[in-house]
Structures are given as structure tokens and as C-alpha cells.
Amino acid sequence: MVESTVKNKPNTLEMPIRIAKRNEMGRKKVILLRIATFALAIIAGGIFIAAMGQNPIEAYKLILKGAFVGSQRNPLSSIQATVIIFVPLLIVSIALSFAFKMKFWNIGGEGQMIVGAIFASYFAIFHSNLPHIVLILLMFFGGALGGALWALLPTLFKVRFDTNETLFTLMLNYVAFYIVKYLETLTGWRARAGFASIKHFEDNAKLLKVGGVHIGWILALLLIFLAYFYLNHTKQGYEISVVGESQATARYAGMNVRRIILRTMIISGAVCGIAGMIQVAGIDYTLSTGVTGGVGFKGITVAWLAQLNPFIMALIAAIFSILEKGSGVMQSTLKISAAATDVLQGIILFFFLGGEFFTRYTFVITKRRVKK
């Protein structure tokens, strides 16, 4: 007999609950689960509102009203404001999803959008006397170029030296931000001496309005279909999927992995840059550090919640925009603190993400007798 050197007592403690991987859920079940999590999120948010001494149903009504019902003078004003939030968020989410599909963590949507806005603003400020259509096209392609360059930099380092793209793209956001700060002080860009702000665009450099909102919303809707087609029905889209799943497999199939990564990131950055251009030419009519409104980060959440499906991204981005526009109105009507609406958005997001967990895992309760 072999005697034991290390003495352990048999562990008779039962673990009643354990986490187990579940088999892949059917599509119907997943949709049901999503609806359930959404309902739960609304309920949990309601409890939070109630805890602040407000009527949750009233509060939710206010949110919807704030997002959709406009003033007497312009009944469409609220919807227009919601769409204005929606457009850049959707465009950037789609842009990021190209990179995410390839498992390239582009956290630099903010920076790419800012640099796109800078390039577009350059034409708006220094070449404002060009014919309108030429100027807008120059701004459009300039914006795309700026975003693409800003995305290209970390990607080159990634494919060449295998640097970490998450950190690199993130840090470049700050670089872009401070470039705008610098431009604000530069003669030529600066509006007036002594003020840190950039000139307003002339009317010639402003985007056409359709239905009371700049034409960018049409572009955003077009982009949904374009992105869906590109990712699912083109050779390049197929390459992106394969590289995302396994670079070894991609190489094995004769794909040029580096080129695919570079190409995809150029597209991702360019689309972010276009979002920047639309924002300066359609809404702000000037360049400022607040041009992104944080969509470079929010877009990450939207893209993942939608599992990179452009149509669902549109849906989620719409929900986010309604929440943002509506909760602003709720907050001012009910006189609750601005932080409370952030908490509310956080709660809803938390439930969404928690729901994802249950599509993949399940809790198993073990019932077993143990004799001691």
C-alpha cells in the first residue's frame, strides 16, 4: 500500500448551484430572452425611480414624450432632436463593428471621428468659396481620409510589431482631442483672438437639410444596408469573418491577413471620420472638442449588444437615443438630478449585458445525497 504524504479530508460540502454552459439556444428563445431582459430592465429602472419618490409610469411617459412629442410650433422638433443623437451613434457603431468582426479592438472611434472632423473643417474654413457641391464632397472625402489615417497608425504597428491595438487606439483618442485644443489657439482656425473656439462655418459648408434634419440621416440608413451587404455578401466580408475567427486558418487558406486587417481598419476609421464630418457640417457648424458626444465609446456597446448585426444596431442605437433625449426632458420636468438619468441608463445597460450571460450559460442546481 502507498501511504499518503499529504492528508486531505474528503470535502463533504455540497455546492448546490453551479454554472454550466448551455447548448446553443434557438433563435426564438434568444429573442424571448432579450424581450424578458428588456422588461426586467424597465421594471428595475422603475423601482429606482420610485425610490427617488417619483411615479415610475409618469417618468417613463415623460421619457417617451420627450423623445417624440415636439412643441406646438414645431411638432417634429423632439423627433428631430432624437434623430440627431441617433445618426452619429449608428454610423460609429457600424464603423466599429467592421473591426470587431475581425476581433480587432478598435476603441479609437472617438479619435477617428475627431480627426475626420478636423480634416472636414479644414476645407470648410479655408476653402469655403468653392462651389457648394465640390466643397461638401471634399469635406466628405477629407473626413473619411482623416479617420482612415488615424485608424491606420495603430494598425500598422499592430501588423508590423504586434502592439496592443486596444491601448494604442484608446490613447490616440486623447491625442486627437488635444489637437483640436491646439487648433483652437491657432490663427486662421481661431474665431476671435482671446477666445478658445474655432470659426463658424459659412452656409456654403453646411449640409443640406431633409425633413428638418441634416441629410446625414439618409446616409446612416443607407449605411445599414451597405454594411449588411458588405459583411455578409462580399468576398472581403467573408475574409473579415475568417480572420476574426482564426488567423491561422486564414493564412492557411491563402489569405493575406495583414492586408485584410489594414484594409478593414481603414474602412472602419474612414466611416468614423465621415461621422465626424457629418457632425461638424450638419449640427455644430464648427469644430470643437465635444464633437463626438462620446459616441466612439457608446458605439462599442451598441455594436456588441447587437452582436454586430447592422439592423439590430439601428434598433439599439434608436433605443439609446430615445433614452438620452427623453431622459433629459424627464430630468428637467421632474427636477431630478442629471446623475439620476445616468444611473437609469446604467441600470438598463446592466440588464442587457446580464441577459447575454444567460444566452450562453445556465445555473444548475445539484441535488445529491452525501453520506458522511
Binding site: 500500500m1 502507498v2 492528508k7 470535502n11 468576398k235 472581403q236 475574409e239 486558418t249 492557411y252
Partner: protein, 510 residues
């Protein structure tokens, strides 16, 4: 010594993964002082069953008894505490530590035993069971069989009296297998209960006292080894009589389709993994490559496919050098590789995609520019499913949900469909059941008859001997010799795999 008392008894064990009943109402027992072979094809549930003893899984229902009393094993720690030790197929050792440190690691004692005491104890265990190990040797300096020895000492040191070995011979040369068997017999005589998981019949016959056979998650019975035969065991395992011989058709040879001359290839660590390798391969010939895992097989395949850095030498395909060409160009030239890595899915297939999209991998560039045309790929997928009897719920099921055999049929089927003149296939039957394996051998022979040159990287020497025309044996990236498969023996191959060079005289182009 309380010989022949029941050590472990399993009653009605059931384990379900999703829709698969991996273990279905299995009864099983092993006694002290015996070697029990757990025989079954891949996917029959052997490893799952043993993982429930080692605490990795918990049964959905059923009872585990040890020494006649009901126990519950919730974690590997519980398993150790009950004196059960499992030696996994893939070793779980820390490379930069010594044998002794690996043995002491993870034990519960608060204070680390003093080095000298530890060494003394390891030596004591080694002497007792006839194991040979230097306690101060670092793991990265060890051969595969030495690492296995460390694993065995590790479980013995923790006081295990019930040992489970998962396919312990898969990575060993024939000589090392003999040595392992001597050790196992000694452990049995010392009163240990030993369970050896395997699908190799000759080993079952050589080492075990009793055999429990699993088929598709169910136990089909336990027999005494000396009352049975390999033939009967196969029938129990497969469920029907199987013809166990592989064809070696005679073919017209088209000389020198592939010429590899003094090839050097860099491995992942920058050192040459293939050193000064020279061989030739004719159309209509199957050249086997035998060698211990990690002897440069992967690098050789990747070099020919254009995926690895060639640091010296030449590769001539149809008298044209392919060194420096891109993988895409090499595929176009008619070289096709199917490499089945250990995880089966890492290369060659995209796990989350369905069969159609995996067919596209090699052909997606065909047809109109820009737009992806799925139609031919879908037709190909359907015809392969039909012709190779791939069992799948449909063409839209992700390949990761298919069983190993079906995954490999998908991969090999696609490679063959590209009508290559040179087919490189590495471990094509890895993890397959007997019937699927024979389907794959037939596919390879079919290609051979069509005049395709086949480079076959294999694991099982019996298969290499039957299927291949010639066998090249490699060790540490060097060619030990090239022999005619009809004129050599397993023992000779084993010695060469361990590094004994053979005069390369008669083996040339048989």
C-alpha cells in the same frame, strides 16, 4: 495488503452534454491489485466517465462508491483526497520547474517539504515502482516519456492508490511503451488499482486483467482479458464485425513530383525545427512520416504549404522551386494541405461557420469579383455530406457542433475536392472511430490511384506500416531514415523514432 477488494464502484452514471448522452447509465468497478482497461472508440465516453472520478465533471445522476461507501466528488481536490489520481493525455506540468518542484506543487501542506526530504521521498517512490527520474531535472529538458514519469510520481506522491491513465501510450515509442507496462505491472503488484483508457487492442491484450468496453456512452460489458480475443473486443467496441486491414494498391509512379533537398525550417521559438531534411515523393505514392509528436512534422508541412519560414534548402514541386511563394500561389500550383491539429479545429476550418462557408475557404475567390457566390460551395457541401456520409443536422450547422469524425471528413473532403497533385495530410484519423478511420484511408488510397502524391503524417505505426509505400522516420527535425513499409518492423521504426540513425540505402524510391 488487501488484494482484490473493490476500490471504486460506479452505479448508473449518466452525464448529458446538451443533447448528447456522453455517459448513459454506466456501471463500472475496479479492484485493488488489478489493471482494468477502459476500451472504446473516440467519443464513446471513456474520458468523460473518468473525468467524473477526477472531479472535473459531476455526474447528472448515479452513484460513486469508494471502498464500499458512497462518496461525492465535486472537485479535483476531492478526488485527490479520495486517493484517486489521473494522468491526463496532455501533461499538466510547469516547464521551468524541476521534477521535484512539479511534484510538490499544489499539495496541501502549508510548509514546503525540505528539498532533501522531498528528493528522498521521490527517490523512494521511484525505486519502489521502478521509475527512473532525476528529481532536479527541469521539465523543459525532458522527453515525453520522462514527463509522463513525473506525472505518475506526482499522483503517487499525493498518496493516490487509484490511478487513471488517459491514453498513456499515444505519445510513446514502442520501447517506451514496454517500459511503461513494466511500471504499471509493478504498481498493480503493490496493490494499486489502475485504470488505463485506450482504444488500442494490442495494448489491452498485453497489459490488462479485465476490460470494460464502452460504446456510444453505454457500457457493453466487462470481460476477463485472458478469456477474450482482439477480434471479439473489436466487435464489442464497434458493434459489428470489422475487417481490420488496410489496402495498399499498386500504382503507376510518376517520379519526383516533390523534391525536398537539405531543408531547414525555423520553428516557433526561432530555432530550426527541421534540420537538413531531404526526401523525394512520386505521384501515386504515399510517403508516411513517423516520429514522436513535435519532431518537426508541423513545420515540414507548413514549409511546403508556404506558411513557415524556410531558412535553408530547396523544395522543388514539378521541378520548380516553391520556396518563397505565398500560400495562395502554392495552393494554385496544386498543393493541398489538411493538417489536423490537436484541437482538430485550429487550422483548416472555421469552427463557428457552417460546412458551406468552410467549403468557401479555398474557393471564395472564384467567380465574379467582389460579391461572394455561395452557390457552388453549398452544392459541394451537399455532395460531400452525401458522398462521405457526413452526419450533420444540415449545411447550416456550425462545424464545431459536428463530431470529430465528421469534422475531419469535411476538411479532407474539401482538400481532395480542390484536385491537388500533392496532398499533405497530418493526423487525418486523429480521434476518429474505426469506421471513420477506414473511410479516410479509402479516401487517401483513392487519391493515390489517381496519381496524387500523398505525404501522410501519422501517429499509429501499425497504420503507417499498412497504408504507406515508404516511411520516413524523423527525430528532432532530422531524417533518421527512409524505409520501405513492406520491409520494416515496428521495432525498427521505434528505434529510429528514438534517434537511432539508419543507413539510407535500400529505401530510396521503392
Amino acid at each position: 495488503m488487501q488484494a482484490k477488494n473493490t476500490a471504486i464502484k460506479l452505479k448508473g452514471i449518466t452525464k448529458v452534454f446538451g443533447t448528447v448522452r456522453a455517459n448513459d447509465d454506466i456501471d463500472f468497478d475496479v479492484k485493488y491489485g488489478e489493471i482494468l482497461a477502459l476500451l472504446g472508440e473516440n467519443g464513446s465516453g471513456k474520458t468523460t466517465l473518468m473525468n467524473m472520478l477526477s472531479g472535473i465533471y459531476q455526474p447528472d445522476s448515479g452513484e460513486i462508491y469508494k471502498d464500499e461507501s458512497l462518496i461525492s466528488i465535486n472537485s479535483p481536490k476531492d478526488s485527490f483526497a479520495h486517493g484517486i489520481g489521473m494522468i491526463h493525455q496532455h501533461f499538466k506540468l510547469v516547464d521551468v520547474l524541476t521534477a521535484a518542484e512539479n511534484v510538490a506543487m499544489g499539495t496541501k501542506s502549508k510548509k514546503l517539504e525540505r528539498k532533501s526530504a522531498l528528493s528522498a521521498r521521490i527517490k523512494e517512490i521511484s525505486r519502489r515502482f521502478g521509475l527512473e527520474i532525476d528529481p532536479d531535472k527541469k521539465v523543459y529538458d525532458m522527453s515525453v516519456s520522462e514527463k509522463q514519469t513525473v506525472e505518475i510520481i506526482k499522483v503517487l506522491y499525493r498518496g493516490a492508490r487509484i490511478l487513471i491513465l488517459d491514453e498513456p501510450t499515444a505519445v510513446l515509442t514502442p520501447q517506451e511503451i514496454d517500459k511503461l507496462f513494466i511500471i504499471l505491472r509493478k504498481m498493480r503488484d503493490e496493490g494499486c488499482a489502475i485504470i488505463i483508457i485506450t482504444h488500442k487492442l494490442n495494448e489491452v491484450m498485453a497489459i490488462s486483467d479485465r476490460v470494460t468496453i464502452l460504446r456510444k456512452g453505454k457500457s457493453v460489458g466487462t470481460v476477463n482479458t485472458n478469456e477474450t480475443s482482439a477480434r471479439e473486443l473489436t466487435e464489442l467496441m464497434v458493434g459489428k464485425a470489422v475487417e481490420l486491414s488496410i489496402d495498399r494498391p499498386e500504382t503507376e509512379k510518376e517520379k519526383n513530383l516533390l523534391n525536398v533537398f537539405r531543408l531547414f525550417v525555423a520553428g516557433a521559438d526561432g530555432r530550426n525545427a527541421v534540420k537538413d531534411m531531404s526526401f523525394d515523393l512520386s505521384g501515386g505514392e504515399v510517403l508516411g512520416v513517423a516520429g514522436i509528436a513535435g519532431s518537426g512534422q508541423k513545420e515540414l508541412c507548413e514549409a511546403i504549404a508556404g506558411l513557415a519560414d524556410v531558412t535553408g534548402g530547396t523544395i522543388l514541386f514539378k521541378n520548380e522551386s516553391i520556396v518563397g511563394k505565398t500560400p495562395a500561389e502554392i495552393i494554385k500550383a496544386g498543393i493541398s494541405m489538411s493538417f489536423i491539429p490537436e484541437d482538430r479545429l485550429g487550422m483548416g476550418l472555421v469552427a463557428s461557420m457552417d460546412i458551406t462557408h468552410n467549403m468557401l475557404l479555398k474557393s471564395y475567390k472564384d467567380g465574379k469579383p467582389v460579391v461572394l457566390n455561395r452557390k457552388p460551395a453549398k452544392e459541394l457541401a451537399l455532395s460531400l455530406i452525401d458522398r462521405l456520409e457526413i452526419s450533420t443536422p444540415g449545411v447550416t450547422t456550425p462545424v464545431r457542433q459536428l463530431s470529430g469524425g465528421n469534422v475531419q471528413k469535411v476538411l479532407l473532403g474539401r482538400e481532395i475536392e480542390s484536385k491537388p497533385s500533392l496532398l499533405i495530410t497530418a493526423y487525418p484519423v486523429r480521434g476518429l472511430d474505426i469506421n471513420s478511420s477506414y473511410t479516410i484511408y479509402d479516401l487517401i488510397n483513392e487519391q493515390k490511384k489517381k496519381g496524387v502524391a500523398v505525404l501522410f503524417i501519422g501517429e499509429d505505426l501499425d497504420v503507417l506500416l499498412e497504408l504507406c509505400d515508404r516511411i520516413m522516420v524523423i527525430c528532432h527535425g532530422e531524417v533518421m531514415g527512409i524505409v520501405n513499409a513492406g520491409e520494416t518492423t515496428k521495432e525498427e521504426l521505434g528505434l529510429m523514432m528514438a534517434g537511432e540513425r539508419r543507413m539510407e540505402a535500400e529505401g530510396k524510391n521503392g
